[in-house]
Amino acid sequence: MKQSEIPTFQPRLRVLNHDQALAIHAAALQILEKTGFKMEHPVALEMLTDAGCKVTNGDWLRLPASLVEDALNSAPRQITLYDQKGNETMPLANGNPFYGTGSDAIFTLDLKTGQRRRVVLKDVTNFARLVDGLENIAFAMSMGNPEDVPIEDIYIHVFAEMVKNTNKPIVFIADSGRDIARIYRIACQVMGGEEAFQKKPFILNYSEAISPLRFPENVMEKLIFCAEKSIPICLPSGSNAGGGAPITLAGAMALGIAENLVGLVIHQLAGKGSPFLFGPNVSVLDMKSTVVSYGCPEWSLTQAALADMRDEIYGLPIWAYAGASDAKVMDAQAGAEAMFSIISSMLSRCDLIHDVGFLEYGSTSSLEMVVMANELVAMSRFFTEGIPVDKETLALEAIERVTVGGPGSIFLMDDHTFEHFMQAQFLPTLLDRNRYDSWQEAGATDLYQRCNAEARRILAEHQVEPKTDVVLTEIDRILQGG
């Protein structure tokens, strides 16, 4: 009788049951129907009132659940991001986790001195090139707000710099309708025209509403622009427990989801069927230091819960974070916190996972952290892929051979081992397993030092496939204001 294949179970973390998911969603709807929100963009306000929202006081609106239902129905369940060469590299669907860096850090760790210093444009260059050369980092973000570019156009400069230094998908920031339009033009240039870009978008905009329940005009400008142009966008507010949201996680999630649903409704009214990456940022405001924590277990927990709610209710791919820390240096805390969020985001199947490489609660970026995270993602991936069980992996023949074979017969020498060892095991490169003496001879390094060396190596050796001169000239023209 032919033996059928045994499917491999892939470990999956679940943190909410069905009733919990429904209750949080119901609470979000109640916030929208009873508490309402402040809409500061007059056109968005009109769109909402035309669609059935009630104005309660000036620019305060209440939103009926039916509008939420409609928007959830029309938003696409799969969002595909392409790289800048048109390859489908990030199909966001079915809980396929993709990791990338972050934006808006003020400081960075200097690669040569290890000192924390202000970000300059060259750092944006380096982070983009590093991401381009790292296998397990799927998309790039700026990793800093440089102090050496004009601030009014900072996000355009940063975007252009990323485009020049990586071909991977880019998650970008913009300030308002003004700069997002120019960033869009650059993106279209890269793909060879607006039509080509819209077929294969390589960018996603990250904008934020303000918790609790406030929607500024410049943010709505960007939302509507992206909806109209089918540029994928996410709109997580900073609904951090104890900060912009209530201290208890369920309430913080309900509020963040409510705010996200407002964004989704407007987005679908402006561009029905346009891609919207779902989800709030629900971390905590630390009750002693008042920082928004980037290493806390709560953020990993709430996004795992959001992933469950995606599977129960929303069906849209979700935004998440991982690979960051509140530590000020890349020490054991940084490693511990980064791994906590990386493995849990993968086990809970978050879709687009950003902020890899941050220290100091998102204020300082580190090339070394990104390099470390690249390996931690690979290690986590090995774990979440589970244990394939089939004739080959059960290895009965090899066992027989080695066991009854003569002296000198060891698994290490067997063909089965030779054929399988590269797939059967996780092969670390930076996590060190050397014998003590070898480790000492090689310089007795720690992980930070090895990641530093690897970052330098990649920056020195990695070749980014360049854009054509035509495209580069056009980008510079748009940068100058053309």
């Binding site: 003020i106 303000i210 002693k288």
Partner: protein
């Protein structure tokens, strides 16, 4: 003469009922009102500030103490009106134009009030003109600005320029803060003072005014 120790304890604990009762009885008992303020309420908040810096108190507890102190201050309001007692100084505070973030600003405001400053909170999205207008109206000791977005920081520079234009710059101390703000930026725009968090804002404010 009532012992202010009970009042101090009540403020530190965040016990509004006891604290306001103690304040009222101290006033009724003829106690020196400036003492009630300085030796009682402000001293209590100093202690709260110390414990908070040492990590012995959490922010919600610190804010509850601050709110308790505020309630007691309401009872002393008539004496402020009369001019019998004075505050440590007048501070205008706001989040700059284009920026709607206010948690940090609100924390600074509460802590400075707890330290004995009289706060005038202009809210968020405050234009340079509004800062100037308020400054002309109340003649503050400090103009404090907050920003969370890098892109709104230039408004800090513009506000300082507007104060210059209105011949007010030399009459006030300008203090700035917020996540993207750095000491270097403060020096660049010639602000008088930069504070990295709400706790140090109080210390720095007292420093630049030369008071304790």
């Amino acid at each position: 003469m009532s012992d202010l120790k009970a009042l101090i304890e009540a403020v530190i604990k965040g016990d509004v009922k006891s604290a306001t009762a103690d304040t009222q009885s101290a006033v009724d008992g003829g106690q020196n009102v400036q003492d009630i303020l300085d030796v009682g309420l402000i001293a209590a908040m100093d202690e709260v500030g110390k414990r908070f810096s040492k990590g012995q108190m959490f922010v919600p507890q610190m804010l509850r103490s601050a709110r308790t102190m505020q309630e007691c201050m309401k009872l002393l309001e008539p004496f402020f009106q009369e001019g019998t007692i004075t505050s440590k100084g007048k501070v205008i505070i706001g989040t700059v134009k284009g920026d709607l973030h206010d948690i940090g600003k609100n924390l600074v405001s509460m802590m400075m009030e707890g330290a004995g400053f009289t706060m005038f909170d202009l809210g968020v999205d405050v234009s340079p003109e509004r800062f100037v207008q308020k400054a002309q109206e109340i003649e503050p000791d400090i103009v404090a600005m907050s920003a969370l977005l890098s892109t709104t920081m230039p408004s800090m520079r513009l506000t300082i320029e507007a104060l210059e234009q209105a011949s007010l710059r030399s009459k006030v101390k300008v203090m700035i803060g917020g996540a993207p703000v750095t000491r270097k930026y403060a020096q660049e725009i010639e602000a008088d003072c930069y504070a990295p968090d709400a706790g140090s804002a109080v210390t720095r404010a007292k420093e630049i005014l030369g008071i304790s």
